[in-house]
């Protein structure tokens, strides 16, 4: 199942050579992140502490949740509040 991954800055340049879009085969965020780790070693550690993942426009915190085919996953830097 092809998933379109859109890394925003600084993830795009830090891990993916500035690519604005990648396509990976995955059924949940764990599989997405494993695939991205294979492309860019070290991404997993970053993902665990510093990233948020938006699946089709909504933040998904559960990496085990099934994501539908042809989904769009945006990688955002984690955001905190006050």
């Amino acid at each position: 199942m092809a998933i379109r991954v859109v890394p925003l800055a600084p993830v795009d340049s830090q891990f993916f050579g500035g690519r604005s879009e990648l396509v990976v085969e995955a059924g949940n965020l764990f599989a997405v992140i494993r695939a991205l780790e294979a492309i860019a070693p070290g991404f997993l550690k970053y993902a665990q502490t510093r990233a948020w993942f938006s699946v089709n426009g909504a933040i998904e915190g559960d990496w085990t949740a099934t994501i539908p085919p042809d989904s769009e996953v945006i990688i955002l830097p984690a955001i905190a509040g006050g």
């Binding site: 925003l8 340049s13 502490t49 909504a58 933040i59 769009e72 905190a80 509040g81 006050g82």
Partner: protein, 756 residues
């Protein structure tokens, strides 16, 4: 207003009972950070750098240690070196090397007030004397305070290893620019060049402090067996545990953190300054050690909100449709990277529909204290620029400012420029409500003006735990790990009371320590009533399910034949005359139906919804002196659902007042030596009561489907609109657009007289 509304679908939600923590707080019994006493406790003190930027060649503590009564001394060399290590805090992460260096400088002091050494002694006065006996050999370095100066190529470099993250063309040259992010959609420049109305300008504002009443303070005790305890006030004991263990490089389980009552946080207590230092002192001294900041320490060394300089351009077509936005933001990070840079674009892209977007944001380090979160971090600053421009465009087009905003406001179903889908947001409802307020029709006097501004804040969710247990008499203990900074005890008690059908007074909301309840991220991000509240309700549902099961066993009926309503189990099996059993009866019989009735629930929701607010502000400007006085102020806000309206209104008023202070008089003022010139409440001018009218509040309720009672989150968004609301009102009163904060009398006077 405390009586129950008979039309409400709820019994307790939406009422205004007395807060469970009220009596202790008003009678002075509540134990805050600086109040805690541990047996055998001694007193620490911290030596702080007098220089804004200096290399530390050596520190000699031997004379201090020789002073009778001094039990321990530490420097940055006593902390483990942790390059590249970070720790997840659930919401965001902390760079441990930087955090450690902020607690105690390692080889450089990076701002005036930076901690460089600490002692512990049998009395506070001996500890202070001991500080005078510490010799620090400084090599004073050139400093940089001004944000734009710090971003220049020839600026003094704070961190030789720092390289800009997110740069399109990575460079190996040292820099003070820590981070950059750009977002481009469509051709904004072209759209703006062809726009019918354009507003633009450079907006600038210095750092401001949260101004919590209670200074940072803690007591730490680190035993010879390696187990440590910390008592402190913070916005999250689990955050304190994670970063204290992280900075000390010890197992998390060796640190137990007990939260004390918190005297204000506003984001400023989502990080730490003292705890690892107190732990080190305690280990060396063999005694519990208290460290407490003075007010000066708080101003000089704890995190303010970042300053911002932004060049912005927004335009609309002749019909009043926004066509594009350009913004180049530079946020101030203070001494260490982390100025909340991503939040500027988040806010920019979540208010209005823009067909074309071209925004860049950067953050730069400078020789000022490391910034910390402050109530909707980064949002008030950029919103000041956005909402000033929006107002100017509406004026150019001759459109009503609310109608113009309504035309362009994001609505459910829209997708923001950052790719986030808008759920059941209530921006339009807030604008409609504002439009209906009598305030808008009130006449204005000479030299008076009215301003309107809107604001957005994301509101987060995140890891949350709660336990609910029934006592033998049916009273209820609700335990969470989230400090009560805005009335959350009352909200938790109301939600449990509503769900379980027991009186509010029979629910005791407790804030547990890190060993008594599952993990929760901080009380912050306007998340607690939403996320922790949902955990409380789910824990209630778990024990309700348990009680239904027990009742089915007692009655020998199927579980489907048991119903829960009005705080009792009812048997619905045909031909059955079993009397209902109340929660009290279930509690009394718990041990004969399977044992204690209790549940703990841990969740990690991310389906929170943002908050929007619209503020209306009337000012009078003294044309001779430039004094701006707030004559009338109304806060309209979508909260999803107000669980306890008093505390919702309190948050709306408090946020507005902090924003008013930010707009009018608050600012960090540095002298030419790079030292803070106003580290106290006399010259760091927060508003006093006589500066303010009653802040009127209008609660809009568009429920969040992801919360059992519809909560969205309340605490942060009310600080977002006031800066622009006041700026727009001053413009209406004087004709002058002021783009720099604060709008203090001398600046307004200069604008009026200088024709700026």
């Amino acid at each position: 207003m405390t009586e129950h509304n008979p039309l409400s679908q709820f019994r307790v939600v939406g009422t205004r009972p007395v807060r469970p923590d009220g009596i202790d707080k008003v009678t002075g019994k509540a134990i805050y950070g600086p109040d805690h006493v541990a047996p055998g406790m001694i007193h620490g003190a911290i030596l702080r750098s007098p220089h804004p930027h200096a290399r530390i060649r050596s520190i000699d503590t031997s004379k201090a240690l020789a002073l009778p009564g001094v039990k321990a001394a530490v420097t940055g060399q006593d902390l483990p070196h942790l390059p590249g290590k970070s720790v997840s805090l659930g919401e965001g992460e902390a760079d441990l090397a930087n955090l450690s260096c902020n607690c105690l400088a390692r080889d450089k002091a990076l701002y005036e007030g930076h901690a460089v050494a600490a002692v512990a002694a049998t009395s506070a006065s001996i500890a202070r004397e001991a500080l005078k006996l510490i010799t620090v050999d400084y090599e004073v370095l050139p400093h940089v305070i001004d944000l734009e100066d710090a971003a220049r190529d020839d600026a003094p470099i704070l961190h030789p290893d720092l390289r800009t993250q997110g740069a399109e063309e990575p460079s190996d040259k040292p820099t003070n620019i820590a981070f950059t992010f750009a977002l481009k959609q469509g051709d904004a420049a072209k759209a703006l060049d062809g726009a019918a109305a354009v507003a633009s300008g450079r907006f600038a504002m210095p750092p401001v402090h949260q101004g919590y009443i209670e200074p940072h303070a803690c007591v730490a005790s680190w035993n010879a067996d390696g187990q440590g305890q910390v008592w402190c006030s913070s916005q999250g004991p689990f955050m304190v545990r994670a970063v204290t263990a992280g900075v000390l490089d010890i197992p998390v389980s060796d640190v137990r953190v007990t939260p004390l009552e918190i005297g204000g946080g506003f984001g400023g207590k989502t990080t730490i300054y003292l705890e690892p230092v107190a732990m080190l002192l305690s280990r060396k001294a063999g005694r519990p050690v208290r460290l407490a900041m003075s007010r000066e320490d708080v101003f000089r060394a704890s995190g303010p909100a970042p300053g911002l300089v932004v060049d912005i351009r927004i335009g609309a077509d002749a019909e009043g449709n926004l066509v594009g936005i350009e913004a180049d933001m530079l946020y101030d990070a203070g001494a260490f990277p982390g100025g909340g840079t991503m939040l500027g674009p988040l806010v920019l892209s979540n208010m209005y529909r823009y067909p074309a977007v071209d925004i860049r944001t950067r953050d730069a380090v400078s020789n000022k204290p490391s910034v910390a979160a402050y109530r909707a971090p980064a949002a008030p600053q950029i919103t000041f620029a956005i909402e000033s421009c929006i107002d100017d465009i509406a004026a150019q087009l001759g459109m009503d400012p609310i109608a113009f905003r309504l035309k362009n406001a994001l609505r459910p179903g829209d997708t923001s420029a950052m790719g986030m889908e808008c759920g059941e947001i209530g921006f339009v409802e807030c604008l409609d409500s504002a439009n209906a307020q009598d305030h808008l029709k009130a006449p204005l006097g000479d030299n008076e003006g009215r301003g309107i501004a809107a604001g957005y804040w994301i509101n987060i969710g995140g890891a949350s735990s709660a336990s609910v247990s029934l006592a033998e008499d049916g009273s209820v203990a609700v335990v969470t790990g989230n400090p009560d900074i805005g009335g959350s005890r009352a909200s938790m008690a109301i939600m449990a009371s509503e769900r379980l059908g027991v009186p509010y007074e029979k629910v005791r909301p407790i804030i547990g320590d890190t060993a008594t309840i599952g993990y929760s991220v901080v009380t912050g991000g306007s998340r607690t009533t939403f996320a922790v509240g949902r955990a409380v309700v789910q824990a209630c549902d778990t024990i309700i399910a348990d009680m239904k099961k027990r009742a089915a066993n007692v009655w020998q009926v199927a579980e489907d034949d048991v119903e829960w309503r009005n705080g009792a189990v009812h048997c619905t099996a045909k031909g059955n005359d079993n009397a209902p059993m109340t929660i009290t009866e279930m509690a009394e019989n718990a041990n004969t139906t399977g044992g204690p009735i209790a549940a703990e629930v841990s969740i990690n929701p991310h389906d929170s919804l943002p908050a929007y607010g619209v503020h209306i502000c009337d000012v009078a400007v003294d044309p001779e002196t430039g004094h701006v006085s707030i004559k009338r102020y109304t806060v309209v806000q979508d909260v999803g659902r107000a669980i306890h309206p008093d505390y919702v209104e309190g948050q709306m008023q408090g946020g507005a007042v902090q924003g008013i202070g930010w707009a009018l008089n608050e600012a960090y003022i540095y002298n030419s030596k790079g030292c803070l010139d106003n580290p106290g409440f006399l010259d760091y001018r927060m508003p006093v009561a006589s500066d303010l009218p009653m802040i009127d509040t209008v609660i809009v309720e568009k429920p969040n489907p992801a919360h059992p009672y519809g909560v969205k989150g309340v605490g942060e968004v009310p600080i977002v609109p006031p800066l622009a609301a006041i700026g727009n009102a001053v413009k209406a009163a004087t004709g002058k657009r002021i783009r720099e904060l604060p709008m203090s009398p001398d600046r307004v006077f200069a604008a009026i007289n200088g024709g700026k």
